[in-house]
Symmetry: C2
Subunit: 217 residues, 2 copies
């Protein structure tokens, strides 16, 4: 129970949990171009995991349910992703595709940002999953802070006219964007769900614009 030397020589639980959170793309066609058959399974597991985490949150998204969705045995999940935490780490890999805003007219920044995140949020369920898990699970919260610091912060800092307040202003923008996502996609508050894209942009863009470019109030 103390040590965990892989005694079975055949099975290699090829998960690199802990270091390099890029993870889970790991042991594919590294050598001679022939992709391993397991790639399809890995992908199926990952897709099912994203769905379940998004729909149920961390605790209620059981490995058994994910495996059932993926059409394989629960032990496969363990083999490929080590444990539930590792699976979540892989499933919550996020690329916001935050656009390069340098060159965008300053008075269009707000609208561009709102529209981008609206589309990004609706194109797959990963962001909903991240939010559902981030609220209950410390690892999920850490991941969200990481996305904020690594992907939102820098992009906004590049165009913020008050560079030393960039972090604060990014947090304000995050609060409005995440708040709208929470009301629309998670809590399903009716009037928030009822708005169409253009209306959301029309309402939120001036707010984002002000948080980004206004003088400190």
């Amino acid at each position: 129970m103390a040590e965990r030397v892989p005694s079975t020589p055949s099975v290699t639980p090829d998960v690199d949990l802990g270091e390099s959170p890029v993870a889970a793309v790991a042991p594919t066609a590294g050598d001679h171009g022939r992709p391993r058959r397991s790639e399809a399974t890995r992908a199926a597991i990952l897709a099912a995991a994203k769905d379940r985490f998004a729909a149920d949150g961390y605790e209620r998204a059981t490995i058994r349910a994910i495996a059932r969705d993926a059409g394989i045995d629960p032990s496969m999940v363990m083999r490929y992703y080590g444990n539930k935490e590792g699976l979540f780490a892989a499933a919550s890999e996020i690329d916001l595709h935050a656009p390069d805003l340098t060159g965008v007219p300053h008075d269009e920044l707000g609208a561009r940002l709102v529209r981008h995140f609206l589309e990004r949020w609706e194109c797959d369920e990963t962001l909903t999953a991240m939010m559902r898990v981030g609220v209950t699970n410390e690892a999920g919260a850490e991941r969200m802070r990481g996305v904020f610091a690594g992907q939102i912060g820098p992009v906004l800092a590049a165009v913020c006219p008050v560079p030393d307040q960039a972090a604060t202003r990014a947090a304000l923008i995050a609060s409005q964007v995440l708040g709208m996502a929470l009301c629309r996609y998670v809590l399903h508050i009716p009037p928030a769900v009822g708005l169409d894209h253009d209306e959301v942009v029309a309402w939120l863009a001036p707010t984002i614009q002000r948080y980004l470019t206004a003088e400190h109030p």
Copy 2:
């Protein structure tokens, strides 16, 4: 196993789950002013439940842990609150104390609202609990929609200069307020945590003000 007629004549599981979600104040000193001894226990359970739900969310807040915190046996929780759902219903009883805003100068509405909710959010953990649970649990989400429709909506509708848009505008305000709460109290995004009350008010008040009173953009 099929029917559940209380066979033991002594124990009366006095929980009114289902009807009148005011609940859990139930069987106190109804008769001659002599409070039952159990009131202290009920209160201890409720306090512990609020803490645990706030800290851990619905699934990870176990009845056993709540009972341990309250210094009593898990079966007591069942006796007083029926089941876990009933306990949560009682623990998430919420009164926003939404202030009457009629009479407040129109250009101060934003600041008043922001400051009120900031203080309300920090005075106890019930709101954090509601948010943590509302994100993962449908009953929790329903409760949040109820608070929105029953406590936030009406107060704002009373002062909204565009009455037929009051619901939409209330949702926008909720999105900003809940978003800031999410970033500060749940996700602990550093720049959001670092703001003091006055700074939050200074940044958010104009947003709220605009959502409430501006013309439709």
